[in-house]
Point group: C2
């Protein structure tokens, strides 16, 4: 029995989920739901349908899991509690500060309708969160560090593009090697924002724009750039498209801690990701948790879950016996 | 309510568990059980008792979890199925090939007596296994690599000490940097045993022993050294004790995989440990899983479990709300 998947929202993340379904033999893409005119949306999977989002409730008994590929700012806070009434759902809600509120909303709706809703799935929140939890449970006496990059920050790239005179732009977040090395050396440094990451901007100007003024505006932009050492490169649109079209990302989660009767022994736990495609990797995590959601629902469970609540074996297509024999 | 812990076996691992209990406020060491004369065993925890292993069954209702700190070769295959009749137990059984058989034995006894037995807890098997599982579930199309070290291999040090003319010895397993870098570069190399690790031996000779003959014997020893590039240093006993008394270890688990409709994007997931004390880190993992065993038993669950079967939240002393607010 394959897990029948629906995708709601067909942007970078939705397309990534479509690719991930293809890589997992126990998964089957049934339908993609879009707010656009379905006739205008062309997908890669031949046997799946493209439907209007208005018809999604009609698919109530035809999908095992609906994967919500909208944004965290406005889409998911509405969509996840709404669609968990009809389906088991997975989302990648990533506004850390609003997770408790989102969890409560999804949990109430999921329990009322007997479905599973797994929220905040991806790599941060997601795999990074899991590594923070495991490392904290093992080394209660220690210090956590998270570094992001090298990778494209969508939010910071958008901030650049909103500046008057900027035609197009990409921003890379880059962890500072010396800071990473200090953490790895076990010195438990206190690191300021500026000491952890630098920001590198590739900017295409509108004709006649004032480069010096724009560079100044970028470097002093509160929240986004003012607290960082920021480099600005002005390049042509051709160069931007040729060299900066990808959406790579990654990062590092480290915990440095001590054990022993007198805390005399140091330990370092490090987890890192180096990703060519941020949305495709996130999608691959979503699909693994879709498998878990389907299984939990088959067991009769319901409610909102996060990656913290799901035993790892639920993510794998292999049986418990196979896992113990091959991966333990 | 604290989790009442018993320790069976007071070697390096048992002492490590004792230290780990002290670092976790929700844990309490009640008793250490030993095969030696209890009067000859002195422990660090003032309020805990030292008892003969023969009396362990008398403690049936006085412990929440018994942590088995014996060896995998002969102790644990007997002890874990035996003591799970009286207690929830945790072991660090690490003979990978015999895990399925050990699981079946512990599962039958645990279910019959309504207890939880968590086996093969530590870092490999344990945290490394978890990382293999998560990475395989996320990137089904990829390749796994595990490197160990730099660290002391107890088995290989023992093999050196069994050689005639060797008074004392320590062996370090060292991952080869160029192999690690090739994996990180995403080239999915096929690596032979010799290409992954080197072995470095520090050997103290008996008076009059033939160094050249012993070096040859080491380098050609089947299974242990013949398949590796091995370096042998002859040193004094003073130098061995001064510079090689620690039991550091660590290692790397990597998965390199691809995503995308045409598998066009590469990804690397890497987990690594750098440990000053192998037994103390293992003990810290054991204690986190002891917390999980206690909770699972309180929920009325029973049977044999591995790290694959346990939702991460069970390992932490924090509540679900606290975890979502602080670590997700």
């Amino acid at each position: 029995m394959k897990t029948r998947i629906g995708i709601l929202g067909y942007g970078n993340l939705g397309r990534g989920v479509e690719c991930a379904v293809r890589q997992n033999e126990d998964m089957e893409l049934i339908a993609v739901f879009t707010r656009r005119n379905p006739a205008d949306v062309s997908i890669l999977t031949e046997c799946a349908q493209v439907c209007s989002v208005d018809t999604v409730a009609d698919w109530k008994d035809k999908l095992d899991v609906l994967i919500l590929c909208g944004g965290s700012a406005t889409d998911l806070p509405q969509q996840t509690p709404k669609y968990v009434k009809y389906f088991n759902v997975i989302d990648s809600f990533d506004t850390h500060a609003r997770i408790p509120e989102h969890f409560a909303n999804v949990d109430a709706a999921a329990k009322e309708h007997g479905h599973i809703g797994i929220i905040s799935v991806g790599w941060d929140p997601g795999m990074f969160s899991l590594n923070r939890l495991y490392a904290n449970a093992i080394l209660p006496d220690g210090k956590d560090y998270t570094f992001w990059g090298k990778g494209v920050s969508q939010g910071h790239s958008d901030a650049l593009r909103r500046i008057e005179g900027v035609k197009n732009a990409k921003q890379y977040t880059i962890p500072i090697d010396s800071a990473l090395e200090a953490v790895r050396a076990g010195s438990n440094p206190e690191l300021s924002t500026r000491e952890k990451h630098t920001r590198e901007c590739f900017v295409v100007l509108e004709d006649g724009a004032d480069a010096a003024k724009i560079e100044q505006e970028i470097k002093t932009m509160p929240n986004y750039f003012a607290d960082y050492d920021t480099t600005v490169h002005f390049i042509s649109e051709e160069e931007l498209l040729a060299n900066h079209s990808g959406i790579p990302h990654g990062g590092f989660v480290l915990r440095s801690g001590v054990t022993g009767w007198n805390k005399e022994n140091k330990h370092l736990i490090e987890y890192s990701l180096k990703l060519d495609s941020n949305p495709e990797f996130t999608s691959s995590v979503l699909i693994a948790y879709a498998r878990a959601a389907h299984r939990l629902a088959e067991e009769g469970q319901s409610g909102c879950k996060t990656v913290f609540d799901i035993a790892p074996a639920y993510l794998s297509a292999k049986s418990g016996e196979e896992l113990r024999a091959s991966l333990l």
